[in-house]
Each structure stands twice: as C-alpha cells, then as structure tokens.
C-alpha cells in the first residue's frame, strides 16, 4: 500500500511542475486509442443516409423481441412491480433479508448518474429534440430487457462459502447454457461477459462519471479549475480509494442515503424550470414529436435521431448491459421473477421520468432562447438551462452531479469487481489490484476530454451487450416459463398479499 501512496505523491509532485501540460499529453495519448476502440465496436452500416451502428440495432431488436415475447410485461407488469416494492407480498418471516425496495434503490442509484443530467444534453445536441422521443421509447422497451436479465440474475446466482452471494450475467450465461446442454459455450460467454463488465466498469461507471463531475465543478468555479483536472481527479480517486479499498463504508452509506434525495431535489427544481418556461412547453413537446419523425437538421434525419436516442437511453438505464442483474442477485426470494418485475421500474424511473424531465428543461430553454448554452454540451448545457432562471443552481447541480457520479462509481466498482472475481477468484490480493486500477481510471477520467471518454465508454459498454443479449435470447424461454408459473400462483392465491 505504501508504494501506491509514494507513487501517487510522486505523480502529484511531478504534476504540480508540469501543470496543465499533463492534461494535454494524456489527452494526446488516449484520443487515438478511444477512436480505434470506438470504430471497432461501433461498426456502422449505412441505412438511408444514416450511420447505424450494428450494436445499437442489436439492442433495439433485443428489446423489441423481449417486449413481444414476454407479452408486453413492461406495461402489464407495472402495477405488480409497484405492489412488490411496496412490500405487499413480503413475508414477515423473511424480514431482515434484502427487500425488493432495497434492491431497486441500490440498482437505481447505480444507474441514475451523470447520464441523466449530461447524457440527455448530449443526445439533444447531436440528435435534436426528436432524440428525446426515441430515448423514451428505448426506456419503455428496455423495461422488458431488464425484466429478463434480472430474473435470470437471481435464478442463477451463486452462494459463496461465507454466505454472501454473487450473481449476474456471467453466472447465468454459464449455468444457463450448461442447462441447455452447451457447457463449453456457456463458459466462453460467461468469461466474455466478465471481461467486458470489468473493462466496461472503467468507462461508463467510472471515467465518464468523474469527467462530467469535474466539468460541472469547473463550470461553477468559473473555469478556475482549467488544467487542474488531474488534481480534481486525484481527490475524487482518493475518496473512491478510501471507500472501496480503505473500507470506509460510512462514506458509501451516506452517499447511498443522500442520492435518492438529490434525485428528488433535481427533479423538483427541473419541474420548476419547466413551469417557468411554460410558454415554451407546447413548442418543445411538439419539437420532440416532429423531430422524432422528420429529424430536421440531424445527420441521418429521423433515423439519426432514433439511433442517438437509443444509444443514450441504454447508456443511462443500462438495460441490456446486465449490470443491474448483479445488484438484484442479492435478493433472496423463492420467486426469481419477482426481481424481474421490480427491475422493470428502473428504466422507467431513470429514463422515462428523469431523462425526460432533463430533456424538457433543455428543450423548453432552447425554444425560449436557441443559443442559451453557447457551445456548451453535456452537463454544462443542462446547467446553463437551469441558470437562466436560477443563477444559484449550478452550485447545487455540481454537488448533485458529484454525488451521482460518486454513487455510480461505487456501484460500478462492485459490478466490475464481480467480473474480476468471476475470472480470478475471490482472493483478497487480486481484489485490491482491481480496486487500485479502478481508482486510477477515476483520476484519468478528469484529465481527458469528453469526446474520447464518451467514445471509449460507449464502446466498452456496448461490447458487453453482445454476449449478454445473445444469452438472453437463449434463456428467454426459461424466464417465460417462470413468469407463467408465477402468474398462475398469483391467480390461484398460492402467492398472496400479506398486508
């Protein structure tokens, strides 16, 4: 451990001399790597003038298939999901175990991150107002994908000798294919996913988060932190270090408790801004609908808007990535499907509620003043939209962004760790190595620019969708059978409300 600290101090000393030079040189180094990874993963085909990345197509087809195959579970299971979260079906004899509410809250604080504030702004900048429409559609379809993956996550989890549980796509891919008589393929898929989530955890759940938190801090500081990304990065990395390696759980606990309130706070003020822009609301809403089908001013037209909407939705709600099923696997339930139902609510809360609210804040501001944000994009753009009415808002927004980023990083450090332990076993030494790597990337995220970060994050995350969704197709019949059996039990009253 001492060596790490010495290394950090050395970097710090060196960096202080080099000042802004560090940020630049790291940027120059990472940009081509990011571009390469991006090109490989986002292999594009030209459809009617729009560039369609195959991986986005892969996700859309998956989500549509699961929605139909599960009989529109995203609509028909919604009420039951709320009853489950409320605890209507909770057996008092099992009290003290992880509740449905807790599993949902944990998974949601992992997904509600900077994507909900900054990602939407990026979608609107590139894809126009119409991207919002497709973002919502993607959120709706993503509910079905989540249902399938979270049910499987609970069904095929593994109990460790110490009584803790490990679950997620790597486990259901391996065991599920084994059950279907393809043990070799299952092993390969499990490993593929584990490698993917481990690397992906460094992007979407790490660099992108710390980068945008730094950007917002810098905006609030009036650019005073320009060139000091490395410093902010080191501090952030230090706090993450303290939590995941130092075992200072109190920080994580406090964050977990504060984040839901920050989310409510954010939505509350966002709705106020929308109300203050009320005269622009009809126009903003109509822009969303017309833009969705005409794609005016967007590269690739309507299809371009659709692609961007879908891409950002998945980036935000993580449906198809399989990460949430790792979090949900902790719930002990006789009926794995119940976790599927509960997880339906995640894309709903994350994308259909929070992202839409952000999109409307930006949309109504754009109608009122097309150039309200100048050149700003990402979090800075959302911040500018709030600032038009509440000059003080960027400060709490920076705080919220920091907390969102932090809680997402903590959750993802766990997801990545599960991938790592799947590959390398539960050894303490290995886990520490992983955690140090994770912290290093937190710092790196603040140093490099948004463009390359976004490319590399997107690329890495979408890479894991390939094995995950392929597995979901194969295992969907199992989920459907579970769902039918569960529904039958509900009907006969074998499973009934306790309250």
């Amino acid at each position: 451990m001492n060596r790490i600290i010495i290394a950090l101090l050395a970097t710090l000393a060196f960096a202080t001399q080099a000042q802004a030079g560090i940020d630049e040189s790291i940027n120059a180094f990472t940009a081509p790597i990011a571009q390469f990874v991006g090109t490989v993963v986002f292999f594009k085909i030209s459809v009617a003038g729009a560039q369609l990345p195959l991986v986005v197509l892969w996700l859309v087809i998956g989500a549509v298939f699961f929605t139909i195959y599960m009989g529109f579970i995203n609509l028909r299971g919604f009420k039951h999901a709320i009853e489950l979260v409320r605890g209507d079906y909770a057996d008092p004899n099992n009290s003290g175990e992880v509740s449905h509410f807790q599993a949902l809250a944990t998974a949601v604080s992992g997904t509600v991150g900077i994507g909900n504030i900054g990602g939407v702004a990026i979608a609107v900048t590139i894809g126009g107002a119409g991207a919002t429409f497709w973002l919502i559609v993607a959120g709706f379809l993503g509910m079905s994908t989540k249902f399938v993956e979270c049910t499987l996550g609970v069904k095929y989890r593994t109990e460790n000798p110490d009584g803790s549980v490990s679950g997620g796509p790597m486990y259901y891919l391996r065991k599920g294919f084994e059950e279907r008589g393809m043990p070799g393929f299952g092993k390969f898929m499990g490993t593929f996913y584990a490698v993917g989530i481990f690397i992906g955890a460094l992007g979407i759940g790490n660099m992108f988060q710390s980068n945008q938190a730094y950007v917002q801090l810098n905006t609030v500081a009036g650019g005073a932190l320009d060139g000091y990304g490395w410093l902010v990065g080191l501090i952030l990395a230090g706090v993450v270090f303290a939590v995941i390696i130092g075992g200072i759980k109190s920080i994580a606990r406090v964050t977990e408790k504060v984040v839901p309130f920050m989310a409510i706070f954010y939505c509350f003020f966002a709705i106020i801004v929308i109300l203050l822009n009320f005269s622009s609301l009809p126009m903003a809403v109509s822009n969303i609908f017309t833009g969705a089908f005409t794609g005016e001013g967007v590269a690739g037209g309507a299809l371009g808007a659709l692609i961007i909407g879908f891409q950002r939705a998945v980036f935000s709600n993580e449906a198809g990535i399989g990460s949430a099923s790792i979090a949900h696997a902790a719930v002990r339930t006789k009926e794995p499907v119940t976790e599927g139902y509960v997880s339906l609510l995640e894309p709903f809360i994350d994308t259909i509620v929070i992202c839409t609210i952000t999109a409307l804040v930006i949309g109504t501001s754009q109608v009122a003043d097309p150039n309200f944000a100048g050149d700003a994009t990402g979090v800075a753009m959302t911040s500018a939209a709030f600032e038009r009415h509440m000059s003080w808002f960027p400060v709490p927004l920076a705080f919220a962004a920091l907390l969102f980023a932090f809680s997402t990083m903590i959750s993802w450090s766990y997801y990545g760790l599960k991938g790592w332990t799947y590959l390398f076993g539960e050894g303490q030494m290995g886990q520490t190595v992983y955690k140090v790597i994770f912290c290093a990337f937190v710092a790196l995220g603040c140093i490099v620019q948004l463009g390359p970060i976004l490319d590399i994050s997107d690329a890495l995350v979408f890479l894991i969708c390939v094995p995950n969704i392929l597995g979901l197709y194969f295992l969907a019949p199992i989920v459907r059978a579970e769902m039918e059996a569960y529904k039958a039990k509900l009907e006969t009253g074998e499973i009934r409300k306790f309250a």
Binding site: G96, V98, S99, Q102, G163, S164, R253, A329
Partner: protein, 145 residues
C-alpha cells in the same frame, strides 16, 4: 383465547430484565405461557450499497444467532427454571409494528415490556417502543418501570 399467553418484549436492557422478572412472577401465579420476543430494528425501505446487500443474508443469520445467544437464551432458561411454558421469536422490523403483529399471531392476552426511562429529546426524536405500544396495541400493555 384458549390459553393465557403473555408476550414479553425484551431488548437486553435493564428495563427488560425487570420486565422479565415481573413476567415470571405473573406467569407463575396465573399459569400463563410466555412468548419472549426480540425485535431487531430494521427497515425494508433503507438505502444500501450493493456490497451490503450481497452480505445481508449472512449478516441477518448472525444477528438472529446473536439475539438467541445473548438475550433470548438467558431469558428462556430463567423462565423455564420457574416451570413456565415458553416460546420465543426473533424478528427484524419496526419494533412496535412487529410486536403488534407477533401479539396477534400468538393470540397474546397482554404485552409486557420494560421501560428504558429515556426522557426529553432522545425519546422525542427516536420515540419509545413502550409509549407507541400503549397507543397502538390491540391488547393491554403492561409497562414495567
């Protein structure tokens, strides 16, 4: 109410000790069965880290085991020494709500609980289980000072 059941709520405090002694005297006189309950404070609506969730099951097991060993066990042997028929329940949840649920399940004729004797600010913020029980329990509540 076929049998005379006393629900004794204990938490390992000195008030609970006094409630235990009182319950034994009562039960000996009236020939009552005593159900000893220990509620581990817990809420299904808290926010946890993924790691806490993953460890929750083993944590719960050890919490229950600890309650049996250090609180329930001694109380039960103290009562059985007096020739009293006993039963015990350890459950997670909101203490007041859980005790009421247990009272209903066991058809208890009354609930006996010790008083912590906390006053002022502390009870204002955290409330008092005995106080809440008096307000909401469906059966008579005896608070032992």
């Amino acid at each position: 109410m076929s049998e005379n059941v006393i629900l004794l709520a204990i938490d390992g405090s000195s008030g609970a000790e006094r409630a235990l002694a009182h319950t034994r005297r009562r039960a000996e006189l009236g020939g009552a069965k005593v159900v000893v309950a220990y509620v581990i404070e817990w809420s299904p609506y808290s926010f946890n880290t993924p790691e806490e969730n993953a460890e929750r099951h083993s944590r719960r097991e050890s919490e229950i085991a600890k309650a049996h060993d250090s609180v329930i066990g001694p109380a039960l042997s103290y009562l059985t020494d007096g020739g009293i028929v006993v039963d015990s329940i350890v459950r997670h949840g909101n203490p007041t709500e859980t005790l009421i649920a247990v009272a209903k399940e066991t058809s208890a004729a009354q609930i006996v609980i010790g008083r912590r004797g906390q006053s002022g600010l502390k009870s204002l913020i955290f409330g008092s289980v005995a106080g809440n029980l008096i307000q909401t329990a469906p059966v008579p509540v005896m608070v032992v000072p």
